[in-house]
Amino acid sequence: MKKGIEVSIAASIAAKLARVEAIAAYPITPQTHIVEHLAEIVANGELDAVYINVESEHSAMSACCGSSATGARTFTSTSAQGLELMHEILFIASGMRFPIVMATVNRALSSPLSIWGDHSDVMAARDTGWIMLFCENGQEVVDMIIMAFRIAEDRGVLLPVMVNLDGFSLSHVIEPIELPSQMMVDKFLPPYSPLYTLHPNKPVTMGAYAMPELYTEAKYAQEMAIINSKEIIKNVMDEFGKQFGRQYKPVETYNTENADFVFVALGSIGENIKTAIDELKGEGKNAGLVQLRLFRPFPSEELFSVLKDKKRVAVIERVMPAGAPNGPLFQEISSVMCTNSLLMHMENYIVGLGGRDVLPESFIDIFNGTACEKSTVPIRDKNFKVIGVRG
């Protein structure tokens, strides 16, 4: 049965349903409701977990490494500056193969200070070796957090997983969400049984250093693990679909079959794009949407098979590319296309920075080719358009 609930609260309930055993977290807007509610859940004895009130995000991720290494199912959550303060340890968590799950409530980065949503934080952390999932709505947040533990702890994966949800436009809205029963989650997600743990009964050395003869091999093995995780992620999504009746795919499509024009996007903005697509349909125009549920490992094959026969592709991103020719998502998609020797008409639009509203009209303008651009950057150095910049 669906119940009206704030998405952040639902996220903390999902962590509880996953029976997390260790939480180390530091508050930052707009992630606060998640960690506050989890603290209440633990304080009320509704969940047997240790809750470590660390003094910073750097220590949050460090403590998560410690608890995960000891064999406890570990959860944390952060946003923006917090994610960047963790940055150094994000690489270590994935390199040491700790199956930590983190809800990243996406928010703009300083400066200027902005507490509102965009993808600057996660895009700055996209190559840290974490599996990355993106959610469109509250139901997905709950489902992805539960799936994230199954994925992370799979013996064929053993990597940390980040569940991304947009700050405010997702984290703070009240939505009808179906919360699965504990029994169903227990059936889907067995208790964590770690491969190695820190314990005097069987001493192991974790986090040794590698000389040049071994570093490449270690990194290659890690890369194979994240690449190979894609099949396991798909299986977990299928199994989740069978058990809970909600089917997910690494790449989701909306009205793409009949459309020559498709948008590609990440996160909650997909809902606005769908509204625009429905309006266009009313005018007899066909546009489609490709949503990436999975961003790391990058679902190149799945994306290519959807995009290969499209005439126009508009990549929508919520991050300023900072001197790059295009946004990060555009660069990745165009590299998939180039690798497959397919060049097509691709456009790159930057929208919704620092919580700026993006209305369905903008996407209709993009479709019609009338989306405005104001910028002084010479066109030959820059291929993206920023939507809605005032002079």
Binding site: E21, A22, A24, D48, A49, V50, I52, N53, V54, E55, S56, H58, S59, A60, S62, A63, C64, C65, G66, S67, S68, A69, T70, G71, A72, T74, E88, I89, I92, M96, L198, H199, P200, K202, P203, V204, T205, M206, G207, A208, Y209, A210, M211, L214, A218
Partner: protein
């Protein structure tokens, strides 16, 4: 037991947890300090180590010096990683996922990993009251990266980032008082120690292990490489540091200060400073200034001990 000036320690544990084959420099007192301390912590110990000399000399993949469970995550976060381990042990024992045992978590970092970059994580962990022991191995500089100054480098010392010159005496500020900072967290046990005084060190490690809450050990660990002294003099210089009052041996149990080895009358610090390449450039006036400071600090410490 005392015999003609020789101390015999009858229950010296024979088991080694830092075994041979590591690559510490000849005469390194840091590895000696760790080895001695681990003997007392014993088998039921999980070790967290910060980046630094001890990590680098002990774990080139695929080898290890440690026969205890050991983890290294980064430079500045040993105390935070230890917090996670201690918390996880607690909950896993509560849930009967692992047997209930008395396992002590020990975090070890150098003076840089403690008094500079790791200070925040350490303060957080002490304040939260995790039941663990933190050991600072103080060799008075960042030795692992090539003898750069830290906030624990003594006044006047030459390091690669505090070189003496026409306009510089070398390290221009006084050593940060880390044990005092630890004491300010109101934790059950804080002590200074030095491997030149192994029995004093043993008894302090025992107390640190038994403490019901966080404990902090600050161990002066002479580094022949960084101090520019012959490799056979690490023990001797440790003794001189204590006998001159430069590094007093004391402990603070529940806020109560106690000097554990009184070197009075103090030897002049000149005996300690001479022969160390890092102080070679100091003139008599500068040495006199340091002497004044050392005497004052020693008197301060004594007065803290008398306050009952």
């Amino acid at each position: 037991m005392r015999q003609k000036g020789i101390e015999i320690y009858t229950d010296n544990p024979e088991e080694e947890f830092a075994v041979s084959g590591h690559r510490a420099c000849q005469g390194c007192a840091e590895i000696l300090a760790v080895r001695l301390a681990l003997k007392i912590f014993g088998k039921n110990t999980i070790l967290v180590m910060a980046t630094g000399c001890m990590e680098i000399i002990s774990t080139p993949l695929p080898t290890t010096t440690w026969t205890l469970p050991w983890i290294h995550v980064a430079f500045e976060n040993a105390a935070a990683v230890a917090s996670g381990i201690e918390g996880a042990l607690k909950i896993l024992m509560e849930k009967n996922k692992i047997p209930r045992e008395d396992i002590r978590v020990v975090a070890i970092a150098g003076d840089g990993g403690t008094s500079d970059i790791g200070l925040q994580a350490l303060s957080g962990a002490l304040e939260r009251g995790h039941k663990f022991t933190y050991i600072c191995l103080d060799n008075e500089a960042y030795m692992n990266t090539g003898i750069q100054r830290s906030s624990a480098t003594p006044y006047g010392a030459s390091t690669t980032t505090s070189p003496p010159g026409k306009k510089s005496i070398g390290q221009a500020t006084w050593k940060k008082d880390m044990p005092k900072i630890a004491v300010a967290h109101n934790i059950p046990y804080v002590a200074t120690a030095c491997p030149s005084y192994p029995f004093d060190l043993f008894s302090k490690v025992k107390k640190a292990r038994m403490a019901d809450g966080p404990s902090y050990l600050h161990i002066l660990s002479v580094c022949p490489t960084g101090w520019r002294i012959p490799t056979d003099l690490a023990i001797e210089y440790g003794k001189l540091a204590v006998r001159t009052g430069v590094f007093p041996l004391y402990e603070v149990e529940n806020g109560q200060y106690k000097i554990t080895h009184s070197p009075e009358p103090l030897k002049p610090i000149k005996e300690y400073i001479k022969g160390q390449g890092r102080f070679r450039h100091l003139n008599d006036d500068q040495i006199a200034k340091i002497q004044g400071r050392v005497t004052k600090e020693w008197d301060n410490l004594k007065s803290r001990c008398e306050l009952k």
